[in-house]
Symmetry: D2
Subunit: 306 residues, 4 copies
């Protein structure tokens, strides 16, 4: 695979830039709604150590749901397969069904990448950690090789003030016994992890361990076993982009995870990770330009897991 990634992402950058203005910045968190929509970054990190960037690839943004992969990896490492007593690994169909599903399946979320599942992940972390926020920060800083990564407290506070739906989910699962810690603490941690501010370059680096069989290629730390890393990729493939997981598999053909901050990270196992960011979302809550850019990336390079 001899690909000129720099030319490739430059080309993609030019092709998708005209789409700015077609989506809509996430409105449900007031602070997020104020972000400048006119931004677009792309970063590629290969396992042989090269990194490529285009546009606003160094601008930190709110990673939101992308944080679910980090916290899930932390607890998957700690708990292993015992986790599956508390969450499933099937796609959830659509958001509309999430509460029915929780009711039907007695408070067990369908997978770790829907909000309910991520709340359980955070609850698991709280059960084993004295200072979960510090641990999360250390974890992502180490993965990204960037000690400046931090929580955006204004975003976290904004999430808390408007996070009634997540509070509903947490209370609902607690009624089934599937949240063990205090709801206020679970939500506090959850709202902060969502408010992590990272750049495309940070995220592409931080996801390298999933392309690399569970090992951080920059310091050889084993984050997950090979088998676990593959399984996180499989989970991202089937459940990583909300109700567009199928669409993303269909169009981009790579495991990935999106957030309503406008970021999407994807992984080509054994080769590279890539992050695209642009704040405007499509109607499914995924970055409109991110989806298109990643589809172009696999089309142009011919790479895909399929």
């Amino acid at each position: 695979m001899e690909i000129d990634y720099q030319s490739c992402i430059d080309e993609i950058y030019s092709e998708v830039k005209p789409l700015l203005g077609l989506g809509q910045v996430a409105g449900y968190i007031p602070v997020l709604a104020k972000v400048n929509p006119n931004q677009l970054g792309i970063a590629v990190q290969t396992l042989d150590g090269q990194s490529f960037q285009a546009g606003d690839a160094l601008t930190p943004f709110s990673i939101q749901s992308i944080s679910k992969v980090f916290v899930f990896s932390m607890i998957f490492h700690a708990f292993g397969d015992k986790l599956w007593n508390r969450m499933g690994r099937e796609p959830s169909g659509n958001s509309f069904n999430s509460l029915v599903q929780l009711e039907n399946e007695s408070g067990i979320p369908r997978n770790p990448f829907i909000n309910a599942g991520a709340l359980v992940s955070t609850d698991c972390l709280l059960s084993i950690s004295k200072n979960p926020l510090e641990e999360i920060l250390n974890f992502v800083r180490s993965l990204a090789g960037n000690q400046n990564i931090n929580f955006d407290n204004a975003v976290a506070a904004s999430e808390r003030d408007t996070g009634y739906r997540n509070a509903a989910l947490a209370n609902f699962m607690k009624s089934f016994g599937n949240i063990k810690n205090e709801i206020s603490e679970v939500l506090h941690t959850y709202f902060h992890q969502c408010a992590l501010a990272m750049s495309c370059v940070d995220l592409a680096r931080a996801f390298s361990f999933l392309a690399n069989g569970g090992v951080n290629p920059f310091n050889n730390e084993q984050i997950l076993t090979l088998s676990q890393a593959k399984r996180v990729n499989a989970l991202m493939q089937t459940c990583g982009l909300y109700n567009e997981s199928g669409e993303f598999a269909f169009c981009a053909g790579l495991p990935g995870k999106s957030g309503v901050g406008g970021g999407i990270v994807a992984v080509l196992p054994k080769h590279l990770s890539i992050c695209v960011w642009s704040p405007e979302l499509n109607k499914h809550g995924n970055s409109l330009i991110g989806m298109k850019a990643l589809e172009l990336f696999t089309t142009k390079t011919g790479i895909s897991i399929f």
Copy 2:
């Protein structure tokens, strides 16, 4: 990748054989319920032309839902992306929701590999084919390189006599205008395609084009474009095993398709296709031994798309 596939599948065969008796043969079609449960076959077909077998790999069995991939490929070739006006490409969450989903989304099935989607595929085929059953037969015979493949008419008749749920789906979609042909003809064709009798060896061969970028490796016929073949693989990955699609991605890490006859076919793009068959099903309607054998296959060989 220097793997001794023959030893590998022999080993798997020995390991999973003791699981015979733990599942349950599909009971909803009387003729299928009478199949001898004590059967187990494995076949691997590599793109470089080697084939490997273990157990009852040459015994024809009822392919049931595996036929959805064949008919979908036929109409994807014919209609291209126009198809997506009539079906989606997202996982369906669970069977429980299928009818709600159809109602909510005005008769558009969520993907081509649930029954509703497959009925639409068959309806599409009827719209362009004078003799759809003959065309289906020619298509699979050519892919498998076996002129003896045929419909099992006893199974087809049994399906028809008990196929009220499929008739309900077809009528429901017709009420939304998403079935164009006569319901009786759609069901007649559908019940026959499900009743195709093929062996593990047949199916491993017949799926080779999906491992091979859309080209039948035995006669170089282009069945689908490269892009289309990848996309069928992506669809199988996210939607191929009913409500266990996530589980199968998680455990086996390969795109695949199962049927209630007890067969599961999976594809490793660029390398091989594999079929396992054993009639006893788990509670999700997938071959209990098939699931386990494919998990062992990717564990032992270290191959997976992730």
Copy 3:
């Protein structure tokens, strides 16, 4: 209760007439869609033998779902409480849930006045009747004291040609074993009973037995026991107007049954029955003017069961 019913309904007639044009004639059956929307009739039948009319009270119209009460009464008489093995008696919440509910509750419709329940009623009638259509006709002719009542065959044929949703329901319930007869025969009978053509005067008379403790007041025939008649009224109260049953109880305060032909019949136990007809429907499928007229009737007369 000394009420001048004639003045009362004349007054109501004048008050609601200006609402003509605000609703929409049922469009899903082509023949029904062609009905002149500009019609409005009211008829009251008291148990002491007086009858009052206003407007088009003698014009026959398609009674549609009102027929569910007749067929249910026939089989309730024949089967008694054994019926409740095959249908429930709870409101269905909303149409949206009907199929989920059927799936969840193994093909047992929630009550006899949703379509699924009415199909089971018709199936029950077929199990005990050699000539169900003739029996239905005799039943309503006798109740209404009008030998000229008949099926509108054009409507019945139109229903059959577009009745895919009812065919879906029947097939779905048959897959659970809750339809015993041939689906085509059940649908044939069902589409005809819906196509009965009766006038407001006919219907007000024909429902008198429900106001009169189960006894036809015109010939003293016991149609249902006192207890059964009360229970049919209770069922109409909670389930008679689709998703507006609660609204109708709230506004009109009488047990009643509506049809998409634009008729609504209501009963004041021990006193009278009333039918209003006007073809234009509100968004819930009930006669827009019929709802309003019945609310005015109970407001003006001060009668209501509450």
Copy 4:
């Protein structure tokens, strides 16, 4: 109507007493679970001022959901029909659907007598009252003519400690803007109103205004207009007994409201109100003996609204 109510309820008492032991005391609130299951009381209050009792008719018990009628009456009086912007008046089908329904209908509960609707009622009360708990207490004390009625604080505390599902509902509705006050205050008030301790005699008296066209017959205070009182009765008829509202209408034929403390109150408009209490519940959460006793009451007396 010359009925010897005392003999009647004595007879019913003897007939239903043997059913003690067949149901199950509500287990979800620890304090409630400790109630002596072996209790049974009946009280009838006629509008002409007579009252009749049998068994433990003077023992206070936790009225739970029966309180929904009191708080709803308070706010219906205050807000009138403006309320219907924030809640509906249709039966909810079943509990299973309540969250889906809320999601589908943007946080508007289907009726005031499901938990979600009652939380909105309480929220409305908070918006107009400085001391809602005191007002609720004054309201029920005045209706029942008993100054000793009070909250059972142990029950209220127990509700709070286990009320995660109600907290989920409140948060969920707040995410749609349909809860205006602080969630903690809404829940505090709600848990207390549910923990009101009243006897059968208290409740039969307190519901008299609903039998009496909205006027408290003991002091002639107008609680609701005639039209509003009828409408509360209609709401109880269609929605008062959770998923057994239809069953209760079918069997007892009276508007009523139940609570998981084991009480059921019913009203015969223009005549009387009746309360039965026995703590053991059937599988739908209604008093097993209460349901049976009220069915017997209408059968024996021949009274019913139908």
